[in-house]
Subunit: 497 residues, 2 copies
């Protein structure tokens, strides 16, 4: 492992390769035998579970409940909402048969041609269609509203070029699907979730995000408005980390979901949908990690503290065990997840490298001299700083240190991002700057045509129209950098994952 | 709702219809637009989440970790393990294409014939094959063992006759897949999980189970031994509620997973797999519920206590609110899940019927006279008994009452089951008794031939060879009731779901 660690490509050499290697070496995930599908390994899944747990808690605190809808969707459902199918339901897995049988020649199994389905079924790429087909039966009156459902599920989009966590054919996510009596209530829900996602990203992932609205061109297929959180990776590229959609009445109309409103009139139901996925795992890795491996925010680290003994003999180990076990139980009582690794089949140096690679936020080492002096060596993963401290009061100190690390990596990521946002006023300047990475605030004439041209010529897209101001004149009208036509305000451009 | 409730078929009239209606009326689940697939509604899903949470805790306490493996499995994998494919991988959903396109006539979308997969992919009916194909890369030496992975996932088996929760094409489950260095260790794991499942069923679902071993004929395809927990429903039929398999080296051989053992020799890895599914929801409903609706064990009830006010005017409601909110916060502080339903758009009688239907274990009612007397009416769902008590100390009383209900419904189910186990010594007696339902302890000659004949003639199967004794002579050798051949011991027969 120590040897493998040394082989980790440096970010400065090849950022993309660094990421690919790190995800595998740190035991987060690996490719599977099925094209574009990943295996999420136990260590990676433990981080995802912590994300899930926190998000689920936040959803429930805001009145949402979980439910489960079918994996398979009848093909005809995709034809119902015209924009949705145009933008969405193309590259997806199609189930056509429901039986295998033994090959006549004994060579294995074949698909039974007699078991062809009357109508093909699609593995959900997202569930608006099947859910709104279901809501039709749940909603009669305004009294049945709002419906605030979330689903934790796997979905599938047949991607041609895949990367672990960032873009895989199958991924895990949550998808919220809410139904409301008024447009205003639905819009409020969509923005409530936007802020919830941003809070989660910032407070748990320690990842600063830009909140904003997507342009028409970048909207979710079938949405009237798409809200997004955009994060900046260490290579300056943007990563869309979560989206929340105000769907208007489009899906209600497509699936004929009407209700009797308070004025006793029939009206179509108003909708939102919103989701974050295992893509967040990729964002987490790329926001904080370094050339030594993962750097995990303490709020999401499966192991927050590891304790490693250094000993010369069994007697010394026994004394260290006693000391360490005391610390372990006091840390656990504080709700801190701690591992004491006194396994005798690995050397301390190997363990150090391994836990660095895995991004464990705090490492404590206890050796012979520490026993004599009642001390412990404390290392924090984010800065790799070491210090020797007395064991007295070490537990509250570690508790504070975890919070300090959480705060520090957030501030570091924020400083990086803010240092990589610039504003430009000419397209030439834009083309030069976009090569350096980062976010660019620039004027745009508001047309899809210009947006597409910029994308084609520079690979940059409009990430969002942000709420926040990065420069004093962000919201001052100006001229489009490409066409010179009037622009109401600057928007965020970047190359993106 | 109150009207609908009255329409609930009685168990004595038609048990099967009672179940089907109850699952829908109590908002647990409903059929979807996709044949054989269900929608698990929020109230049903909340119960499933409680089951998941408890099982997950128990898995982690016994050293297991979660991971995630792909939904789709290459068709060829199913040919690798001969018995597995013979017994398993036939009725399943087959993905043959990966793209839709617009129909030339504008009528919607069609499957793109150019997007045919080279090898068909199967939606997992269970994951042994893809997981063992993955483990191959994880295991080199005995130091890599054991691997104790669990996965929470959806799976799909194309069932022709489906019933909500009991048998659906798609269902949710957990599947544990463990890898071990020795046969003994794997067998110990398989039985450890059997006992874990039984503890969960008894302590949380309040459902007594018979633990035992399956006959060869009833074993999981590819297993050397299948352990099972079998529960008795209120119609006397058995419901297999969880199974744990000792797989020997079958899957390791099929996927060539070898390791260097402590003697430095190559050896195939030993395996187990085990699972419980949303079928447990069906078992929960059928074990305890009655003609008034669900009866939920307090340990799994999403709402453990509901408080309903009865008031004549706003002033009175305000006073009841104050009183109820105090009780709510004190119950919550005890970790009890409580709902105060003072919604003004439903009458108390409607609420009573609804919460009865939903199986809320304890109902508190506060009316005008209760305000005067500082009392509250307490109703327990299991017996429907009501009593009026002083509000002083009501919270600890409710806490104890929840435990009493948990224990009472377990004891009631146990008494029912024990009253419906009999032993018979002749096949005629067997045929007469099996019509009455219940479990029958009888001698059997140990052959699949006899087992199949009994099944054909009576629809009864051998549920298991139980650990427990129900009669003094259970383990005394005797003669097969059908063939008269020697039998080592009695086994459990029943008709089953």
């Amino acid at each position: 492992m120590a040897v493998e660690l040394k082989n980790l490509t440096k970010r400065s050499e090849n950022y993309s390769q660094w990421y690919n290697e790190l995800v595998v070496k740190a035991d987060l995930a690996e490719l599977s035998a099925v094209r574009g599908c990943m295996v999420i390994k136990p260590y990676g899944y433990a981080i995802w579970e912590k994300m899930q747990h926190q998000l689920d808690t936040m959803f429930k605190e805001t009145g949402h409940v979980n439910a489960y809808f079918p994996l398979l969707i009848p093909k005809s459902f995709f034809s119902r909402e015209a924009e949705h199918v145009a933008g969405f339901a193309k590259e997806c897995a199609v189930v056509t048969h429901h039986r295998l049988k033994n090959a006549p020649d004994g060579s294995g199994v074949i698909v039974d041609p007699d078991a062809k389905l009357e109508e093909e079924l699609i593995i959900r790429p997202t569930s608006e269609t099947i859910i709104w087909n279901t809501y039709k039966n749940w909603i009669n009156s305004y009294r049945d509203l709002p419906i605030l459902c979330n689903q934790w599920a796997n979905v599938m989009r047949w991607e041609m070029r895949t990367r672990l966590f960032l873009r895989t054919s199958e991924f895990l996510w949550q998808e919220g699907h809410t139904a409301h009596a008024t447009s205003q209530e639905a819009e409020e829900e969509a923005t409530r979730i936007l802020h919830l996602y941003a809070d989660f990203a910032e407070q748990y992932m320690a990842m600063p995000v830009v909140k904003g609205v997507k342009t028409e061109n970048e909207r979710f297929a079938g949405a009237l408005e798409t809200y997004t959180i955009e994060a900046m990776m260490q290579d300056g590229k943007a990563l869309q980390s979560g989206t929340s959609h105000f769907l208007g009445q489009n899906f209600a109309k497509a699936f004929d979901v009407q209700f009797v409103n308070k004025e006793n009139k029939m009206e179509y139901v108003w909708a939102t949908s919103w989701g974050v996925s295992t893509r967040l795992m990729g964002a987490l890795v790329m926001t904080h990690s370094d050339d030594n491996g993962l750097v995990l925010p303490p709020h999401l680290a499966p192991i927050q503290v590891v304790i490693v003994p250094i000993y010369k003999n069994a007697e010394m180990l026994q004394r260290i065990d006693a000391k360490a076990n005391g610390i372990v139980s006091r840390l656990k009582a504080m709700g801190i997840s701690v591992k004491y690794d006194n396994a005798d089949n690995k050397r301390p140096g190997f363990k150090f490298a391994d836990y660095e690679l895995k991004g464990v936020p705090v490492r404590l080492v206890i050796g012979g001299r520490d026993l004599e002096n009642n001390t412990v060596e404390v290392m924090r993963r984010d800065t790799l700083e070491k210090e020797t401290r007395t064991c007295d009061g070490i537990e509250p100190y570690v508790g504070e240190l975890l919070e300090a690390i959480q705060s520090n990596i957030y501030q570091k990521a924020l400083a990086y991002r803010n240092a990589h946002i610039c504003k430009v006023d000419s397209y030439d300047e834009f083309k030069a700057n976009i090569e350096e990475g980062g976010f660019i605030m620039a004027h745009w004439d508001g047309t899809t045509e210009t947006e597409e041209r910029i994308k084609e010529e520079t690979k940059a897209t409009i990430r969002c129209i942000p709420y926040e101001n990065f420069f004093d004149d962000d919201k001052t009208p100006g001229q489009c950098m490409v066409t010179g036509k009037p622009s109401a305000r600057r928007v965020v451009f970047a190359r993106a994952y």
